[in-house]
Symmetry: C2
C-alpha cells in the first residue's frame, strides 16, 4: 500500500542566537529523509562558514535582483543584511513527495506562513534569556551594542511564538533534535493529512 | 525552568483485531513515562490474560453497578460484553502532571472525546483488510460467523477515523510503537499547550 503524499514543508525558526543552526546541523547528521533548503544571505560569512553549505552568500545587488524576479519564497532584511529562501528548490522537492526543512529567521518564517499555511512551524526557544545572552556572547563575533540589539530583538521575537505550531525548548542539542524528529514523524501521522489517502488505498484491496 | 503542565490523555483505538493490545504492550515495555489505565470488561479472559494486568475482569452485575454510580469515563457493550474505563485513576493521574494512556474500543473512544475534547486521539489502522482478517483468524478464538461480524464491524469502525487526531498504520509493531512515541513527544511540544507556561517561566528570569 502506497501512502505517498506531497512532502511536508517544515520551518525551524526562533530568536537570534537560540541555536537554530546547531540544531539543524545535528538533525542532518542523523537524518537523511529531510531535504535541507539552504538560505541565501548578504551577510559576511562567519569563520568556518562555507558558501553553498551554510548559506549561499550573495552581494546586495544579486539579492535584490532575485527579489525583483520573485524567485524568493521569503526574504527579510535583518541587522543590515538580507536573508532569504530560493523558491524553486522548495516547490520541486515537495512535488516529489519529499519533506523540505527550512531554518530561517522569524520575519522570514511569518512570510512563509502566508504562502504555505499548511507548513509545519517550529519555534526553537531558549531555556532562558540569560542562556541566550551567554550564547550570543560565546560567539565572540559581536560588540556590546550589537549584543544588546540582539537581546532586545530576541524578546520581541519570542512574542511571535504564538504563530507557530510547536515550541521546541533548546535546553540540550540532542534533546531538541529528538523533539524535532518526533514532530516530523507525528506530522506524517496526522489524520488530516493521511485519512483520505489511506481510505483510497484500503478500497483498492477489493 | 519548570514547564510542568497537566498530563496528556492519550487514547489508542482502532478496529477490532488491528493489534491495539500488542502495540500497547510494546509501548509499555520501552516507555516508563506513560501511565496505563487498565480497562474493565465482562468478557471471558483469553488464554494468558491476567486480571488487573490485561483487564479488570468483572461480572455484568458489578459492571452495571459502576455505570449506575457514574464511575466510568466511558463504557460500551461490544459483541455481547461490556468494556469500560474507570474514571478516578485517569483524573488523579492527569492532575499529577503525568500522561495517561488508554487503549480502548472505538465506541468508547468517541465517548472519551465528548468528555475530554483535549485528549489526543490515535487511530491504529490495519495496513489492509486482508491483513486484518488474517490477524482475527490467527487468534483462533472465534468461529466463522464471529469473524465475519468482526470484519464488518472493522469496516464500519474505519469510517470513524475522521474523528481522530492521528492515524498510525500498524504495518509493523515496532514502527507503530515508534510512531506513537513520536506523537507523545510532539504533543508535548504543541505551542497551544506550552506557550503560556513557557512565557510565564521566561518572565520569572527577571
Amino acid at each position: 500500500m502506497n501512502l505517498k503524499e506531497r512532502g511536508l514543508l517544515l520551518i525551524l525558526s526562533g530568536p537570534s542566537g537560540v541555536g537554530k543552526g546547531t540544531v539543524r546541523k545535528a538533525l542532518f547528521e542523523k537524518n537523511t529523509n529531510l531535504s535541507y533548503s539552504i538560505s541565501m544571505t548578504t551577510r559576511v560569512p562567519r569563520p568556518g562558514e562555507k558558501d553553498g553549505v551554510d548559506y549561499f552568500f550573495k552581494s546586495r545587488e544579486e539579492f535584490e535582483a532575485l527579489i525583483a524576479k520573485g524567485r524568493l519564497l521569503e526574504w527579510a532584511e535583518y541587522a543590515g543584511n538580507y536573508y532569504g529562501t530560493p523558491l524553486d528548490y522548495v516547490e520541486e522537492t515537495l512535488e516529489k513527495g519529499k519533506d523540505v526543512f527550512l531554518e530561517i529567521e522569524v520575519k522570514g518564517a511569518m512570510q512563509v506562513k502566508q504562502a504555505f499555511a499548511h507548513g509545519v512551524f517550529l519555534f526553537l526557544a531558549p531555556p532562558s534569556l540569560a542562556e541566550l545572552r551567554t550564547r550570543i556572547l560565546g560567539r565572540g563575533t559581536e560588540d556590546e551594542s550589537s549584543i544588546q540589539r540582539r537581546l532586545e530583538a530576541a524578546r520581541e521575537e519570542i512574542e511571535l511564538m504564538n504563530h507557530y505550531d510547536y515550541v521546541v525548548v533548546n535546553d540540550d542539542i540532542d534533546a531538541a533534535r529528538e523533539r524535532v524528529e518526533a514532530i516530523v514523524v507525528a506530522e506524517h501521522c496526522k489524520r488530516s493529512r493521511v485519512a483520505s489517502v489511506y481510505k483510497k488505498a484500503l478500497e483498492s484491496d477489493f
